[in-house]
Symmetry: D2
Subunit: 315 residues, 4 copies
Amino acid sequence: MKDVHAMAPAGVLQALGRVGISGVRKPVSIHRADGLHALAASFSIYVDLPATRKGSDLSRNAQVLAEIVDQTIVKPSASLEAVCVAIARELLRRHTYATEAQVSAEAEYFMPIGLTDEKTSFENFLLLAEVIATRSPGEVSVRKTVGAESVGMTACPCAMETCRTQLEGEYPLLKDPSMATMPIITHNQRNRTRLSFELSDDVDVEAESILEVISKAQSSQTYAILKRGDEGAVVLNAHRNPKFVEDVVRDALRFAAQNFRSLPDSTKVLVETESEESIHKYNVRASHRSTMGELRQAQQNNGLLPVNNSPSHSA
Amino acid sequence: MKDVHAMAPAGVLQALGRVGISGVRKPVSIHRADGLHALAASFSIYVDLPATRKGSDLSRNAQVLAEIVDQTIVKPSASLEAVCVAIARELLRRHTYATEAQVSAEAEYFMPIGLTDEKTSFENFLLLAEVIATRSPGEVSVRKTVGAESVGMTACPCAMETCRTQLEGEYPLLKDPSMATMPIITHNQRNRTRLSFELSDDVDVEAESILEVISKAQSSQTYAILKRGDEGAVVLNAHRNPKFVEDVVRDALRFAAQNFRSLPDSTKVLVETESEESIHKYNVRASHRSTMGELRQAQQNNGLLPVNNSPSHSA
Amino acid sequence: MKDVHAMAPAGVLQALGRVGISGVRKPVSIHRADGLHALAASFSIYVDLPATRKGSDLSRNAQVLAEIVDQTIVKPSASLEAVCVAIARELLRRHTYATEAQVSAEAEYFMPIGLTDEKTSFENFLLLAEVIATRSPGEVSVRKTVGAESVGMTACPCAMETCRTQLEGEYPLLKDPSMATMPIITHNQRNRTRLSFELSDDVDVEAESILEVISKAQSSQTYAILKRGDEGAVVLNAHRNPKFVEDVVRDALRFAAQNFRSLPDSTKVLVETESEESIHKYNVRASHRSTMGELRQAQQNNGLLPVNNSPSHSA
Amino acid sequence: MKDVHAMAPAGVLQALGRVGISGVRKPVSIHRADGLHALAASFSIYVDLPATRKGSDLSRNAQVLAEIVDQTIVKPSASLEAVCVAIARELLRRHTYATEAQVSAEAEYFMPIGLTDEKTSFENFLLLAEVIATRSPGEVSVRKTVGAESVGMTACPCAMETCRTQLEGEYPLLKDPSMATMPIITHNQRNRTRLSFELSDDVDVEAESILEVISKAQSSQTYAILKRGDEGAVVLNAHRNPKFVEDVVRDALRFAAQNFRSLPDSTKVLVETESEESIHKYNVRASHRSTMGELRQAQQNNGLLPVNNSPSHSA
């Protein structure tokens, strides 16, 4: 029987950047500080293809995935990204003609959170991993991106000022100095923020630490269980931290610089945030790419800037 | 060549309720009061199948769709539902073995709206149509459902009361009677509401009138273009009309009863609303099915109920 | 502090059919024959609301969900539907004003399958559960719907006949009697089929048995790992079982009648199937609702019908 | 009233790469060779933000969008990308602090196609446009990406060979030389392919020409209306052009080089293709980035390669 994949392609010889399988759903078991986590993950895995081959042997991709991922059910892995690194390395071992393997995965992640201990329940977050393994003579080098996404809340600082001005006309007592710090109505909404780091293979970051940075960068974290008084507390917290999407990005970068001190300067950082505006039918987005080195430099240069000049807190 | 569809099916003789094609994208041209509208619609069309036939001849469905819908490009139809009625009737004519045809369509609809005339721009809404044509000896009867969906905003009346109580402790001036009607912070969010009517073929409702009811039932309509002061006005409006999803449903039913006085008592009404809560990762929903007759009866019975007992308006 | 939810609503008194929360993501642990399964499930839970109340206390919904579902992590449940039944009953207990609770859930389900043992790997299926608990004086009655969905493959019997006729002209040897049973090219495609049963609370069906019926009803099951020869075997199998969506529905009903002999006659059965046609940009669908009693009756009445009249097997 | 957006941000001064609005739905009217086309488009538009500003004035984005896009209803534009270029330039004019504007749009596009003239009907394709406008002292430079996506069909060449071998054992006549070119069963499926070009502002490509390249690169184009014999013709055509996703990418690049001879060597080309495999639950993908210059070089170097070595055409 002919090996159709190994034949020369028809027409023009043309190497291809990426051939593979996408949207493969798999159960993954990972071992975290708080115990085992069973993830339902979606994988996409690719290799490049030289000009001399008609096809990439994709059944190898499915087999590598099955072997490495199914094995975590028996022997849990340390993280989703560790699973991706193992897959990428094995892909290069089996696709001998390939020089690069790309593996990406995302999985829902459940963590118990709550405003108070007795109202703690499992809520959903997202884990993200992306690995590129490159073969050069004698060695394989690996770069990995590790990220997470969390849904929280933003309250708009600009509409808050506008409303304050409008309400002061109708309710003159609002101009009393004792009312200066009272949070005023504005539009608030669901916000989805993603933070990720591109790292060399020997450096790790914890998903929980990434999620912590995101939660602090939003106007407020949100919760599944909120009894009546709790709703008030979350609303108040959000309105005492009104933020543009721009603020969410800046604060995520700032807290990332503070919380991940051991990451090398060369580490790339990406923040993406999207607010599902309550007063519009469309979304508002901001994003920024930087490096840990640049963030540290910016913080040093601007160290004297007062941190409490947020308009919503001012008199 | 064998007519495979007309053969007796293998195994067990079994009539089937519904066979057809779904997700067919088509351009539709309709003629409204304000001129021509070009819609990009999605159609699903089905007929039933008797036990004696192996298959439904689905190429007829595609052909009927093409003929009737493509023709609107040349000669625009009155409405999306009129197109669906024509399709359903023609399906029964060509599928001689069928006793029922089901056609559903949805299409994005752009209307110019704005807080003021100079800030008017096209915004997107959704049109919905569903038609069931039934063949009985000597005649075909048609029932049609006509609906629309609009995205607006809700502000929570409960968290507003909670926040008021909490803030009164910290800002005693808030307890001054002059401040009683001042809107207080709460969570507000994107709300998606759908209202539809099931009608006999000779009765019509206008999509624009449906959308008007929905907008009034939400805490506030939203807009694409909002300059600074406008944002304040929308936020204020929403907080002066705080609503649970329950209120949105009740008000949509109430306004429907008021605005569609000519619809017969037997007309079925369905309201569905969903708020993408800003303080939770999940959504909140309410829905109700009724008839115009029931709504009218309820309004008569409860006519003496004061309409201003909404907590957010009270002292 | 006012209890805003318990207040009388503004305007018209109007009971509402359904108020609740939707899209709540939760980890669920269930105990199956082959061991523990960790599911990532999506829940929607609702109760009705009397005319005298402004709002349903939705924080109870979130709390009930958290208590019952989070508890499965410690003490696994028997099934997704058992979790839903427990939620529905508890909802009625806590929403004392409600007469009906509706709970629906769906969750991805991983099972190891393979063409051969050594090519077995985890593949994804879908579990579906829906429960309605109704309160009448002195008791609560429960109806539950249990279903599953599987992705497989269909090959079109009609295009196969057409191609045979066309190819016979060009390749006369194809008309030789020895070639009569050779499968001929046709269009084949991804097929998604869902089978569900509406049961009283004391009757159970196994998800694995439902998935087995679906797989047999499609032209062929599909697999993640297929080495070269295996691909041929699956393709051959599908082309030896060419099926319209109509055939998939009829066969799912037929096999359901055979495999679930202990279900009472009153059990409702629903089959829905959708083929993502390779030769069209749109999908083809068929569905049918029946009862176990009707299916049994149909099978008895038609017992003499030869089962091998499928056109693709005939000379 | 404070201009909150123009204030210095709290904490760390940090320029941001991208701030804007996404998912804005708008009607767009474009003037093509065959007449007016009314598109329903989705826009995302962004600018960068200097470190000294707290916020980007997003109401300007909404206003620019409304002015330029709504104007096409009155005075149709030449293309979706021309609309995006106009938006990007105007964004830089109004956001005086920004150095880069990014605009992306996609819109469904209906074209009449058919296997024969009398079976022609409107089918849906996708138009894609992306524009980056960069401000440098004294001038604004614009790069635009123009692309399109079409859904067609692929048939697998490898499984065809496998099935041939397997069937030859069972049906010896198949080994007769006269049967050598007869297409054999394989798996075939829906394929989605996207081709795009990155161009300078003064160069144009026609969407219809891009769609033509894609259709030729797939195993077969698909159609909404296919009567019985037509289905056979499409199936035969696909099986006479069996293709891996790798082949689709290579052929799209090859036909792009042939059909777009006037594009400069520096033009970047991107092909992405995805087959929704009928024999797997996951998809198969291939993609490649190149330039027109590289493609021309490759074609010259490999000009002598015979084009008829495709395994499915060989004896």
